[in-house]
């Protein structure tokens, strides 16, 4: 008996070692490309071409100067991305919450039909409408405007679905009735009583809506042609163009600058982001 136990313990030990080795290798695989990116942002092009290094060098300033001298304006891109992502996130979570509230709190004739409709709408892939959307916006003279990148967020069926599930489990209709007796209007009740209840769900969905909008390349790429309207992902796409072909240090610097805000946000919120992925995947 004792023998068997030591044997299985030794087995467990070996297993554990394998697990840690694999996990550490994978973690390194996650970090290494970004590490090289940040390190190379501080090295001169000659240094980068002479081989790999994991230690920073001293050419950060030069790389930054070269980068900014060629009409690359990360601040402008950052600002545009921030406006688009910020407003579209607000639109998405506010109107989705409102729609979800309409589905949960009121008993209207078309309620079930509307809900089924929302589920169907979720299946339309983004590219199915891209060409028509572009031509339509072109006719409205809305290309090079930030509005077509913000307003469509009002209809976000997946967020409505999530919010509805949340409201079904969290909202007690007595609270709404109490507010009515106190003379509150319906919209006032929603804004002052229901929205605060929904804050945890809103926070989760807001993170994902923000990141999705921030990382979106396709729509901004087809809609925006003026330089001063470019978002960060478009600016990244320009880094690979001819003007930077030989300036590797500056390319890495540009990449580092555009990725930095997301790294900061991720490490601040990683716990919530990971909890959110899990929640979005399996919530009953």
């Amino acid at each position: 008996m004792e023998n068997i136990r030591t044997e299985s313990r030794a087995f467990l030990h070996v297993n554990r070692t394998i697990v840690y080795i694999v996990c550490i290798v994978l973690a390194l695989l996650s970090i290494l490309p970004f590490w090289i990116m940040f390190v190379n942002a501080t090295r001169s092009t000659a240094e980068i071409q002479s081989g790999l290094s994991l230690l920073p060098s001293t050419h950060m300033k030069t790389n930054l100067d070269v980068l900014l001298s060629k009409s690359f304006d990360p601040l402008k891109g950052f600002f545009n991305s921030l406006i688009i992502s910020g407003f579209s996130t607000i639109c998405a979570v506010y109107f989705s919450s409102l729609t979800a509230y309409a589905l949960v709190a009121y008993n209207w004739k078309l309620r079930q039909a509307f809900f089924t409709f929302i589920l169907l709408v979720m299946m339309i892939p983004a590219q199915a409408s891209a060409i028509g959307f572009y031509k339509f916006m072109y006719q409205l003279h809305w290309t090079n405007s930030l509005l077509p990148l913000i307003l469509p967020a009002i209809a976000a069926p997946a967020i409505v679905f999530f919010m509805r599930q949340y409201l079904l489990s969290m909202l007690s209709i007595e609270m709404v009735e109490a507010a009515r007796i106190d003379g509150a209007g319906e919209l006032y009740t929603f804004n002052r009583i229901v929205l605060p209840i929904m804050v945890p769900a809103i926070a989760t969905q807001a993170i994902f809506a923000f990141v999705a909008s921030w990382n979106n390349l396709f729509m901004p790429l087809i809609l925006l042609t003026q330089k001063d309207k470019y978002t960060l992902p478009i600016m990244v796409s320009l880094l690979k163009g001819d003007i930077y072909k030989t300036e590797f240090g500056s390319i890495y610097m540009g990449l580092a600058l555009t990725a930095l805000p997301l790294f900061v946000i991720y490490f601040l919120l990683s716990r919530y982001i990971i909890a959110g992925v899990a929640l979005g995947g399996v919530k009953e």
Partner: protein
């Protein structure tokens, strides 16, 4: 008594109105418009009178029968998806089995999860350009790494070879998404009734048996979810192939989305061809979703709804470049 019964149902309509309007204007109309453009001769930047084609399905038949690029793009999309999905689900399952194993008790799980999920959060376009620089020839970080490890004797031009270029795109997809899949699977395992695991332990099942007989069957729905999201997302693969090699070399990484973008917005302005290609893609997505719904038909309605919700999430994920 001044209380009287009031019907509040009109607020249901009122509060849904913004959603309905935004959907009709920014989604429904554009989809219809795209479908119509697919039957016309609309092309060029300067607006010209647009006519319906004499043979209304001309654009579609042209694409399917005569356009090699389009056919290559469909094959590439499928190939790159399979190359990324199989290792992705395999590794995610392995990690899930380890991280949820009660006897193994892996320490530092939280840190590992944060690090393995990290590539998913960074803009896909940044990752595409970054990998392009990492694999540069003759002197790039990957080439120098492989040389110092003694794996290769001379620098390899990874980006000019069709096989390696396609392989790298699939690898980037895998690398960006296995962490996400893992977290969803782990959450799925946590949702399994612990009594099942206790019963298995009492019956003397070992780790492998428990995983094969209890964990995997209970994860069926979650696995289907992963399959659907990944498949629809894979159909829309854009950022990575577009910015990694612009679809090259020799169309080896040309996906359907890159093809559509190229037709409509890169000099040729063939809106009709692009619209027809979008509709073909839409049809493929619908057929694949229908197929998976058929596979899930025995499940109860809530599972069906969950799946539908997930499909949309996949579409959203695709915007980030799944």
């Amino acid at each position: 008594m001044r209380r009287k019964s009031v019907s509040y149902s009109r607020f249901g309509y009122m509060f849904s109105l913004p959603f309905i309007l935004a959907f009709l204007v920014f989604s429904f109309y554009p989809v219809l418009y795209t479908a119509v453009i697919g039957f016309t001769d609309m092309k060029g930047v300067i607006p010209k009178p647009v006519h319906m084609l004499d043979n209304p399905f001309g654009n579609f038949t042209d694409l399917i029968m005569h356009n090699t690029s389009f056919r290559i793009s469909l094959t590439n999309t499928a190939l790159i998806w399979i190359l990324n999905f199989i290792p992705q689900i395999g590794l995610a399952l392995l990690l899930t089995a380890w991280f949820t194993n009660q006897r193994l008790k892996v320490r530092g799980q939280g840190a590992f999860k944060v690090l393995l999920y990290m590539p998913n959060i960074i803009t896909a376009s940044t990752i595409a350009v970054l990998f392009n620089s990492l694999f540069s020839y003759p002197m790039g970080p990957v080439n120098s790494l492989f040389e110092s490890l003694g794996w290769i004797d001379a620098p390899v031009n990874f980006l000019q070879d069709k096989t390696t270029a396609r392989g790298i795109v699939a690898f980037i997809q895998f690398w960006m998404w296995y962490g996400n899949t893992m977290i969803i699977l782990i959450a799925g395992v946590m949702g399994i009734n612990p009594a099942l695991f206790e019963a298995a332990a009492i019956d003397g099942a070992n780790g492998w048996q428990t995983f094969m007989r209890i964990t995997l069957p209970s994860l069926k729905t979650i696995m289907l979810y992963t399959l659907i999201t990944s498949m629809i997302g894979g159909l829309q693969l854009f950022d990575i192939p577009q910015l990694f090699l612009f679809g090259g070399p020799d169309d080896a990484t040309l996906t359907t989305s890159v093809f559509i973008y190229g037709q409509a917005f890169k000099g040729s302005y063939m809106f009709n061809k692009a619209a027809a290609a979008s509709m073909i893609m839409f049809a493929i997505a619908a057929v694949l979703s229908g197929l998976l719904f058929y596979l899930m038909r025995d499940r109860d309605a809530s599972l069906l709804k969950k799946a539908q919700k997930r499909i949309k999430k996949a579409a959203k994920a695709a915007a980030r470049g799944l």
